[in-house]
């Protein structure tokens, strides 16, 4: 177990160091999310009362698409010189790699969201009428849900033709309950009518179920070649 966490940490540190050196992914992702926000505000007039009502959905759809683009890059670095094979021939546990990638993606996507959320707030003149602090657990649980499944399915689509398109094809159907919970919770918190507790609990359940399942099955996916 100590080897698991130490290898997770080593892998995460390596990924962050490499990312920090080039800043490629993070820069392009930031710019991409900015563009998504702008495109959204051109498509959904922010002054219209209706758009304000459904901004919970808008935010999460924007995050979802930005996250898919980010998640698709997860394994790119490990594939470049087939470094993944070096990992596979080593005695390091598969789950250490998985957790490192999940944590890395979680950091990246959270970063994107903390940039995009204020932009949405500004563009759409939002003010939460419910308990705004609840948005933070919703965002964190929701992001975790997307990121765990996304990292897992990105690893699965490594073994397929036309890899980039496979990720959403696998991720979207399974993420529907998570997306639904995020959207509903956000809507409730922003509009202030009702309590978001049910949705938060559902999200938590989703996270626990899928994190466990992914950890149990990742070894199989990694060693499949």
């Amino acid at each position: 177990m100590s080897s698991l966490s130490s290898i997770t940490l080593a892998t995460l540190t390596k990924d962050i160091r490499l990312e920090w050196r080039s800043k490629d992914a993070i820069n392009s992702m930031l710019f991409f999310s900015l563009l998504v926000v702008v495109i959204f505000s051109f498509s959904f007039d922010p002054n219209a009362e209706e758009s304000r009502q459904i901004v919970g959905g808008l935010i999460w759809v924007a995050f979802l698409f930005a996250a898919v683009v980010a998640l698709n890059q997860t394994w790119a670095r490990e594939l470049r010189n087939q470094v993944l094979d070096a990992y596979r021939v080593s005695p390091a546990p598969a789950n250490a790699l998985f957790m490192a990638k999940v944590l890395g993606n979680f950091i990246l996507v959270s970063l994107l969201e903390s940039l995009m959320a204020p932009l949405f707030m500004i563009f759409y003149n939002l003010r939460a009428l419910g308990p705004a602090w609840q948005l933070i657990p919703v965002a964190m649980l929701g992001t975790w849900a997307l990121v765990v499944n996304g990292t897992f399915f990105a690893a699965m689509s490594l073994r397929t033709r036309s890899r980039e398109i496979m990720l959403p094809l696998l991720l979207f159907p399974i993420s529907i309950p998570a997306v639904q919970s995020m959207v509903e919770a956000t809507r409730i918190i922003l509009s202030g009518d009702g309590a978001a507790r049910f949705w938060i609990v559902l999200l938590l359940t989703y996270d626990v179920v899928f994190t466990t399942a992914c950890l149990a099955l990742f070894e199989t996916v990694l060693q499949a070649e």
């Binding site: 070096a86 005695p91 499949a224």
Partner: protein
């Protein structure tokens, strides 16, 4: 274990492969390979394109699940024996963006090796400078191949599996790498080298393993010209 000097190796080898079949869809890359390999020998694996050399090496390294048949390394399956196996593929298996030392330091963690000494030692032993700050992506092909070898021998494995280590390497670097491998064999390691440039290993390899169409068709002590006839059996 005594190393048999006869053409056919002793039954109790360090690696034993029995009836190995590896199927890719409608094509079988390995079609029932049965063989024993001895400890401390230098094997050169030769054969035409598509003969199954890479696939065999990957099966030995535990990277390819055999469709049927078994691989046993030191009596274990390849995944369990992974600490005893060093694998070098045609791609470098290194991060292009990190320096050689940073790369090795990361892989050392995977093998629970702590401290920099081992990494530095290994880099020096392949004839590179551990202080080199350049990222591996900017190494020349020859340097990259050496660093890749350094990664493979980092955890001091008993068995080395090398896939075309000399391909796209100029004659001079290739010669140096052969020398290095020879030293390691003399140090007691079992070495497998897949290559198309068999001449480089003449007089160095202990045994030449000829593959064809997913079978091992011949094993010779010398690089003879008559292997092709053996292939036609």
């Amino acid at each position: 274990m005594t190393v048999s000097a006869s053409e056919i190796p002793a039954a109790a080898g360090i690696i034993s492969v029995s009836n190995l079949v590896k199927q890719f869809g409608r094509f079988a890359a390995l079609r029932g390979v049965t063989a024993e390999f001895d400890s401390g020998e230098f094997y050169a694996v030769l054969g035409d394109n598509g003969a199954g050399k890479t696939t065999l090496l990957r099966a030995l390294a535990g990277l390819a699940d055999p469709s049927s048949g078994t691989v046993s390394i030191l009596g274990q399956n390849p995944r369990q024996a992974c600490r005893e196996i060093g694998y070098m593929a045609h791609p470098s298996l290194l991060y292009d963006e990190m320096s050689g030392m940073e790369n090795l330091r990361y892989f050392a963690r995977l093998y629970d090796i702590l401290g920099d000494e081992r990494c530095q030692h290994v880099i020096r032993s392949v004839g590179l400078d551990p202080g080199l700050a350049r990222p591996v992506g900017k190494y020349s092909q020859g340097m990259r191949q050496r660093m890749s070898l350094a990664r493979a021998i980092l955890h001091d494995p008993k068995i080395l599996l090398l896939d075309e280590p000399f391909s796209n390497v100029d004659v001079h670097s290739a010669g140096e790498m052969v020398g290095l491998l020879k030293t390691m064999r003399d140090g007691g390691k079992t070495i497998f080298v897949v290559t198309h440039q068999a001449a480089l290993l003449e007089g160095v390899a202990d045994e030449f393993v000829w593959m064809q169409a997913g079978h091992i068709v011949d094993r010779t002590r010398r690089l003879t010209a008559d292997h092709s006839e053996a292939g036609k059996q």
